[in-house]
C-alpha cells in the first residue's frame, strides 16, 4: 500500500506543471505579471491590458492547455469571436454610442487631419517589410499606427493571426503612452506662436445633422471600401442609437453591458494567443540560461513589433501635426496645428494631449473640443485604412 501511495504521488508529480514547465513559459508568466502591474498600478489601458495580461498567464500555464490554440477549452471557443471578426465590430458599436461627432460635423476640414495621421500606418508598413515581415504581417504591424485597438485586432486576426498577441500588447501599451509619446513630437514640429493660436468657437450642430451623419457615412464608406463596412457600420450604428434619442435602452446596453462582456472575451482570448513560442520566438527545448536563447528573444518578432509600433505612433502624430501646419498656413493662422496630433484615433486621450500642450503655451486656450474633430475622424480614417489593407493584402 505504501508503494502504491508513493507511485501515485510520483505520477501526480510527473503530471504536474512543475515537471513540464519550460523556461519560455516561466518568462511569459513573468511578463504577464509586469503587464498586470502596468494595468493595475500605472493605469495603462486597464480595461484591455488586464484581461490580455491574464489571458497571457493562462496560456502559459504548463499542461493546462488554456491557450487560444488548444482545442476544446473555454478560451478556444471564446477566441472564435476574434477569429471570425465578431468582437471588434461589437466594441466599435459601443464606441459609437459614446462618440460625439458634433465637433467633426461643425468643422469638416478636421477629417483631413484624421486622414493625415494615418501616414504612420503606411510608412511603418514599409519598415516592417524591410525588417523581414511578409506583406500581411507588415500590414498588421502598420495598423498599430492607427492607434485603435479593435481595428488593430480586427486587421491582424484576418491578415496575420499568429502575431495577434504581440500586436495587441504593443497597440494597447502605446495607446496608454500617448501622453508621453506625442508632446515632444508636437513641440518639435510647431512654433510657440502656432501653439498659442486660439481657434474660433465651433458652430452649433443640429440634431438632424447628427442623425443623418452616421447613415450617410455608413453608406458612403461601405460602397467605396466594403472591407471597412463591418467596423464603420457598427461604429455608426452605435452613434445612431445615441443621436436618435429613441432607443435609450439599446444605447445604454451597447456602451455598458455588451461592450464590457465583449471586452472581457476579446482581451482574455487575445492575451491567450501569446504563447512562449509565438511571443518570444523560442521553443520549449530552448534553455534560458544560454546566451543563444536570449539572442533569439531579442531578435524575435515581438521586439521588432514593439519598435515598429512606436515608429507608427510617432509618424502618425507627425503626419497629423504637419497637416495641421498646412491648414494653419492655408487658413492664415485660424487653425492651431496641435489639434492635428489628435488625428491618431486614441479617443479621447489624444484630444486631451492637444488641450494640455496648448494650454501650457496659453492657459486660456481650450483646444479640447476642436481636437475632438480630428480625434473621431481618426477612428473613421483608421477603419478605412484597415479596410484598404485587408482588401489589398487579404
Amino acid at each position: 500500500m505504501w508503494e502504491r501511495f508513493l507511485e501515485t504521488i510520483r505520477d501526480l508529480a510527473l503530471d504536474s506543471g512543475f515537471a513540464s514547465v519550460s523556461g519560455g513559459q516561466i518568462l511569459m508568466i513573468l511578463i504577464s505579471f509586469v503587464l498586470m502591474y502596468l494595468a493595475i498600478k500605472k493605469g495603462f489601458e486597464p480595461l484591455l491590458l488586464l484581461p490580455i495580461a491574464f489571458g497571457m498567464l493562462l496560456a502559459n500555464l504548463p499542461v493546462a492547455g488554456l491557450s487560444s490554440y488548444d482545442e476544446g477549452n473555454l478560451i478556444y471557443y471564446l477566441y472564435q469571436g476574434v477569429k471570425l471578426g465578431v468582437y471588434p465590430p461589437i466594441i466599435f458599436l459601443g464606441i459609437g454610442c459614446m462618440t460625439d461627432f458634433g465637433p467633426l460635423i461643425a468643422r469638416p476640414s478636421s477629417f483631413l487631419m484624421g486622414a493625415a495621421a494615418q501616414l504612420g500606418i503606411f510608412i511603418t508598413f514599409v519598415g516592417a517589410l524591410l525588417l523581414g515581415f511578409n506583406p500581411q504581417e507588415a500590414g498588421s504591424i502598420g495598423i498599430i499606427g492607427g492607434a485603435d485597438g479593435p481595428t488593430a485586432i480586427y486587421t491582424t486576426s484576418i491578415l496575420a493571426p499568429d502575431l495577434l498577441g504581440s500586436i495587441a500588447v504593443a497597440a494597447y501599451s502605446y495607446m496608454a503612452l500617448v501622453p508621453i509619446i506625442q508632446p515632444p513630437i508636437m513641440k518639435l514640429l510647431t512654433t510657440k506662436k502656432e501653439r498659442q493660436i486660439v481657434m474660433s468657437q465651433l458652430r452649433p450642430v443640429s440634431k438632424l445633422e447628427k442623425i443623418v451623419f452616421p447613415v450617410a457615412v455608413t453608406v458612403l464608406v461601405s460602397f467605396i471600401v466594403p472591407s471597412a463596412a463591418s467596423l464603420v457600420g457598427m461604429l455608426m450604428l452605435g452613434n445612431l442609437f445615441k443621436e436618435s434619442g429613441v432607443v435609450d435602452r439599446l444605447n445604454k446596453t451597447a456602451q455598458n453591458e455588451l461592450m464590457n462582456i465583449v471586452t472581457i472575451f476579446l482581451g482574455t482570448t487575445v492575451g491567450a494567443t501569446a504563447t512562449a513560442e509565438r511571443f518570444l520566438g523560442i521553443t520549449p527545448e530552448d534553455n534560458l540560461l544560454l546566451p543563444s536563447t536570449w539572442a533569439k528573444i531579442v531578435t524575435s518578432d515581438t521586439i521588432k513589433i514593439v519598435l515598429l509600433g512606436l515608429c507608427a505612433f510617432a509618424l502618425g502624430t507627425a503626419g497629423g501635426v504637419l497637416f495641421g501646419k498646412l491648414m494653419c498656413w492655408a487658413t492664415k493662422g485660424k487653425v492651431n496645428p496641435l489639434i492635428g496630433s489628435a488625428g491618431v484615433s486614441a479617443v479621447p486621450m489624444a484630444a486631451r494631449v492637444s488641450q494640455k500642450v496648448g494650454q501650457k503655451e496659453n492657459p486660456g486656450n481650450f483646444l479640447l473640443m476642436h481636437a475632438m474633430g480630428p480625434n473621431v475622424s481618426g477612428v473613421i480614417g483608421s477603419a478605412v485604412a484597415a479596410g484598404v489593407l485587408i482588401s489589398v493584402l487579404g
Binding site: S109, F111, Q118, F122, L220, I224, V225, R352, I380, V388
Partner: protein, 93 residues
C-alpha cells in the same frame, strides 16, 4: 531580402489616396447635409406664426445690455468644455 516593391508601392499609394479620397468625399457630404438641414430649419422658422409683430402698446422690455452677450457666449463656451470633459470621462470609464 525579397521585397515586392511594386506591391509595397501600390499599398502605400492606394491606401493614402483612398483614405484621403473617402474623407474628402465625407467633407463634401457633411457640407451638403448641413446646408440642406439649415435650409429645412429656415423653412420651418418662416412657417412658424410670426411673433415679431406684437402690438406696440405692450410695455417695452429694457434692452438687454450688450455686455451680457459675452458672459452668455462665454458660458456657452464653458458649457461646451464641461460637456467635452464629462464625455471624455465617461468614455474612460
Amino acid at each position: 531580402m525579397n521585397i515586392d516593391w511594386t506591391l509595397a508601392g501600390s499599398v502605400i499609394f492606394s491606401g493614402l489616396v483612398i483614405v484621403f479620397a473617402v474623407l474628402l468625399i465625407l467633407i463634401a457630404l457633411v457640407i451638403i447635409c448641413s446646408k440642406i438641414t439649415a435650409a429645412i430649419s429656415n423653412g420651418a422658422a418662416k412657417k412658424a406664426p410670426p411673433s415679431a409683430n406684437k402690438p406696440t402698446n405692450q410695455p417695452k422690455k429694457p434692452a438687454a445690455p450688450a455686455a451680457t452677450n459675452q458672459p452668455a457666449m462665454a458660458a456657452q463656451g464653458e458649457e461646451d468644455e464641461i460637456a467635452a470633459v464629462i464625455a471624455a470621462a465617461i468614455h474612460c470609464m
